[in-house]
């Protein structure tokens, strides 16, 4: 742009009120602390949730009921009658903790695909936030904390409903709640990064059909991965869902192969969260600060 296109119009306003203190005033403002910034971001997402929670809460209660009906009464009675359960457990007790983890994956996917794309593209709320003192890391942290809240709500409801209908053998089931949240985050954070890298929502078709659905089927949710061909098993190890399923099942049933294995699962899930965070921060920054 050449300077000849620059035009200054007449002065219309006098200097402002000056000495008024605080962040509402004209002067230099005290910077926001990081908890303040993150609280402001979370505040936005909770305002959105206040408008939409009724719709989502019905689904949160309905989905465990559907699973219990299909797996417990339907498939479960068949498995128990013909095979005597799985590894000494009734099929219901085998499958329900795993479904908690699987359900977390689905909730996480719902919160990190179209939702996130919408804040980039459709209502541009991320960009609106960046015109304020907020930074990319605040936005990412605030939004992910909201996802944690959704995961915790969904998992708690699922566990409570499933427990009410005899889906668990004991109090170890309570561990399924934090395990479910961690499993969900192991999906949400990398998928936040993926979404930031996508200009359109076309990629989600592949993500859901080629990643999420196969994972649900082949991560030991409905049958132990030992039933799979040997060459397929390493794929399960490389995905977050299998680690979440194994952890949740071990915690709920008390049947754990070794404490070391449990920590390996936790470490694997944390690695997905950590690597996902680094990628997400980089890709969010690249997309929003151009």
């Amino acid at each position: 742009m050449s300077s000849s296109t620059v035009q200054s119009t007449a002065t219309t306003t006098a200097p402002g009120g000056g000495g008024r203190a605080g962040r509402g005033g004209h002067g230099i403002r005290e910077p926001l602390s990081w908890p303040e910034r993150i609280r402001a971001v979370v505040g936005y997402f909770l305002t959105v949730y206040r408008r939409t929670w009724r719709g989502s809460i019905i689904g949160r209660f309905a989905s465990p009921l559907f699973f219990l009906l299909a797996m417990g009464l339907g498939l479960g009675s068949l498995v128990d009658a013909t095979a005597g359960g799985v590894g000494g457990l009734s099929y219901l007790h085998f499958v329900v903790p795993a479904i908690v983890a699987t359900q977390s994956m689905w909730v996480a996917m719902g919160e990190s695909t179209y939702q996130v794309m919408g804040y980039f593209k459709w209502n541009k709320m991320y960009a609106a936030m960046l015109a304020t003192p907020l930074r990319v890391a605040d936005i990412l942290t605030g939004h992910l904390l909201t996802v944690v809240f959704h995961l915790a709500t969904a998992t708690t409801i699922f566990v409570a409903v499933a427990a009410e209908f005899g889906g668990f053998a004991g109090w170890g089931a309570l561990w399924c709640i934090p395990i479910g949240v961690l499993t969900g985050l192991a999906f949400a954070v990398p998928v936040f990064a993926y979404t930031a890298s996508q200009q359109t929502e076309d990629g989600y078709n592949i993500l859901f059909r080629m990643v999420v659905s196969p994972l649900m089927l082949f991560s030991g949710t409905f049958f132990p991965i030992a039933q799979l061909p040997v060459w397929l098993q390493p794929i399960a190890w490389a995905t977050p869902l299998w680690h979440g399923v194994e952890l949740a099942r071990g915690a709920a049933t008390g049947v754990v192969s070794s404490p070391v294995a449990a920590w390996v699962h936790v470490a694997a899930l944390l690695a997905f969260v950590g690597i996902g965070w680094v990628l997400a921060l980089r890709l969010f920054t690249r997309r929003l600060v151009a």
């Binding site: 742009m1 004209h26 403002r29 936005y44 015109a131 304020t132």
Partner: protein
């Protein structure tokens, strides 16, 4: 000095969007960038708004460097973007309340300021309505009102659809408002249009 730029440059790959401009804006000025499409007005305004880093040259807002003090500068700016960027599923006043919190205003400060700005933008009677069904002009007024929530030192606005003129001289929102109205922004500000 509110804005000073020397040799300000913005490139996207090989494409040069802003090619070394020098500009100075002083306190009390209403300043506008005019130019044909693709001249680099928006890119310049995004750099001044500290949402886009300069590729070259020197830029100071309130004497501060956006590359170092971006958040502190943005705390004092009232940025009115080209696109409205409103959450249309929320109400008019919720859009203001949320925004005030981003600047660290207390809940009470935000609500008070929102009430003043809704009056200023003549949206008081629509405050509890969702944004989505509002007319384009009303949404624009809400976006302008929102950009003033932090009582900014300088208000950069892209799109000169509310420039002061004879018809709009009585009201800072000018032609963005229905005719024959005269209300003053409770806290005047310096305006920068691009």
């Amino acid at each position: 000095m509110l804005v000073s730029a020397r040799g300000l440059t913005k490139t996207f790959g090989d494409f040069v969007a802003v090619d070394g401009i020098d500009v100075e804006v002083r306190r009390g000025e209403a300043f506008g960038f005019l130019g044909p499409n693709g001249a680099g007005k928006s890119s310049t305004m995004r750099m001044i708004g500290c949402v886009s880093p300069a590729t070259g040259g020197e830029l100071r807002i309130f004497g501060q460097d956006p590359a170092v003090d971006g958040p502190a500068i943005r705390a004092r700016l009232g940025s009115c973007p080209q696109a409205d960027m409103l959450d249309e599923e929320l109400t008019v006043q919720e859009n203001l309340w949320i925004y005030g919190r981003y600047f660290g205003l207390t809940k009470a400060q935000t609500r008070k300021r929102a009430t003043e700005l809704l009056d200023f933008a003549q949206l008081t009677d629509r405050r509890g309505d969702k944004v989505e069904p509002l007319s384009g002009g009303m949404k624009r007024r809400l976006t302008i009102a929102r950009s003033l929530i932090n009582n900014p030192r300088t208000a950069p606005a892209r799109r000169a659809d509310h420039r002061p003129g004879p018809a709009g001289a009585a009201h800072p929102l000018g032609p963005a408002l229905p005719a024959q109205t005269s209300r003053r922004d409770p806290h005047h500000h310096d305006a920068l249009h691009g």
